[in-house]
């Protein structure tokens, strides 16, 4: 069964926390990965691979640059499920 948007957000926040140490509560839909959360491209790729594993979705490399905010990633994962 597909996860709800808030469940995807919670799961993604856990992945971000594991990779970067950023508090899960700080990972909000309107936050930009680079500008607000200061996540670099290599960490972003690690987050993407872990998200693919966790949610059972495929996020193409060329799609990663379009995932500007946490909300973008949550929407992409939710739609791909």
């Amino acid at each position: 069964m597909a996860l709800s948007q808030s469940e995807v957000l919670a799961g993604l926040a856990e992945i971000v926390n594991d990779e970067t140490g950023i508090a899960a509560e700080a990972v909000q839909l309107d936050k930009s990965f680079t500008d607000d959360l200061d996540i670099d491209s290599i960490s972003m790729m690690t987050i993407v691979v872990n998200a693919e594993d966790k949610f059972g979705v495929k996020i193409p490399d060329e799609e990663v640059k379009n995932l500007v905010t946490v909300g973008d990633a949550v929407n992409f994962i939710s739609n791909a499920q």
């Binding site: 670099d40 290599i42 790729m45 690690t46 993407v48 691979v49 490399d61 990663v64």
Partner: protein, 334 residues
């Protein structure tokens, strides 16, 4: 009259690495030295690559000079004569002639003439490809001792304004002597390629484009994130397979010596492999940079010289890069 029975090579049961030799570029290049043309900083480069300084060769120090120096050290430490060498395998992507090979000149310069000598082009996987071939040549009886060299003068093929790979790169050569052994010293190799990702890392133009004036001097480029993803998550599978075919577990290792591509790849690989704390993870990239085919023997040589690992321990070596090509094996440290 009956037809005579052919002689064939008599096989040898085991092989091992006898010794290593190393030569690095004579210049120490800091991040500040190269940050200007890529609009970067020491901090940015350290954070994304782990590199503090890289070693590069001055104009007068050639790829061949470094290869000769590393080879002479390995030959001396192995306790053999250059004339004992039955084959010379030189892995390089920066020998500046299409032909003849770098290996034949190297063989002559070190006194191994007339040993068979050839180059292999497997980029950052090249040293592991060389060890796989040397192991096969020794155990099949084709050659008693094989000299494997991974050497690069990458600084001849970089663009100072390139933000994808040039700032990572260094120059050096690493050499190994492989020969017969009474006990197993080189595991089966896990090696392969994925040409569907041919364009992910390599030269940005062909020599034909240079000839036709449609492109400047070709230099190295990469799609960094694609390569990073492959180098970690696909190479973890290769590393696990290499341990499995070797019949060892990560906790049995003294060291893991990956291709020194980027500290983030090295650290993530080690994390994914769940390497126990007592296993040394080579991080020679910090002061040498990424030297492609040379990086594994240079890193292993450094660990042995510093005493961080001891001769006789087990090391997983894994190379990966342009091709995309990969190779891994577990070896007994010389």
């Amino acid at each position: 009259m009956s037809q005579p029975t052919l002689n064939q090579y008599e096989t040898v049961k085991y092989s091992r690495i006898y010794s290593l030799g190393a030569a690095r570029g004579d210049l120490t290049v800091t991040n500040d030295d190269i940050a200007g043309p890529i609009d970067s900083s020491d901090e940015w480069i350290r954070q994304r690559t782990g590199i503090i300084t890289r070693r590069r060769a001055s104009k007068d120090l050639s790829l061949m000079d470094m290869a000769v120096s590393a080879s002479n050290e390995a030959i001396k430490k192995a306790g053999i004569q250059p004339s004992d060498i039955g084959a010379v395998i030189f892995s390089t992507i920066t020998h500046p002639y299409q032909t003849p090979s770098a290996a034949t000149l190297l063989a002559d310069k070190i006194g191994a003439n007339p040993a068979p000598a050839y180059d292999i082009s497997a980029a950052c996987a090249g040293y592991c490809y060389g060890i796989a071939q040397a192991d096969a040549l020794v155990r099949s009886g084709v050659a008693k001792y094989v000299l494997v060299v991974g050497g690069e003068k990458l600084s001849d093929f970089i663009d100072p304004t390139d933000r994808t790979i040039s700032f990572l790169l260094g120059d050096g050569a690493g050499a190994a002597i492989v020969g017969p052994s009474d006990t197993p010293g080189i595991s089966p190799s896990v090696w392969g390629s994925d040409g569907s990702q041919w364009a992910a890392v390599g030269m940005d133009a062909s020599l034909l484009e240079l000839r036709d004036g449609t492109h400047k001097w070709p230099t190295l480029r990469q799609e960094g994130l694609t390569v990073f993803k492959w180098a970690v998550w696909e190479m973890v599978k290769v590393a696990r397979q290499a341990l499995e075919v070797a019949g060892v577990k990560a906790e049995d290792l003294a060291a893991i010596v990956t291709h020194q591509a980027n500290i983030r790849i090295i650290d993530e690989l080690a994390k994914q492999l769940e390497v126990p704390e007592n296993v040394v993870v080579a991080r020679d990239i910090v002061h040498t940079g990424n030297t492609s085919a040379a990086s594994i023997p240079l890193a292993m040589h450094a660990l042995l010289e510093s005493g961080e690992v001891k001769s006789g321990g087990l090391a997983l070596e894994i190379g990966f890069g342009a091709g995309l090509a990969f190779g891994a094996q577990v070896v007994v440290l010389p």
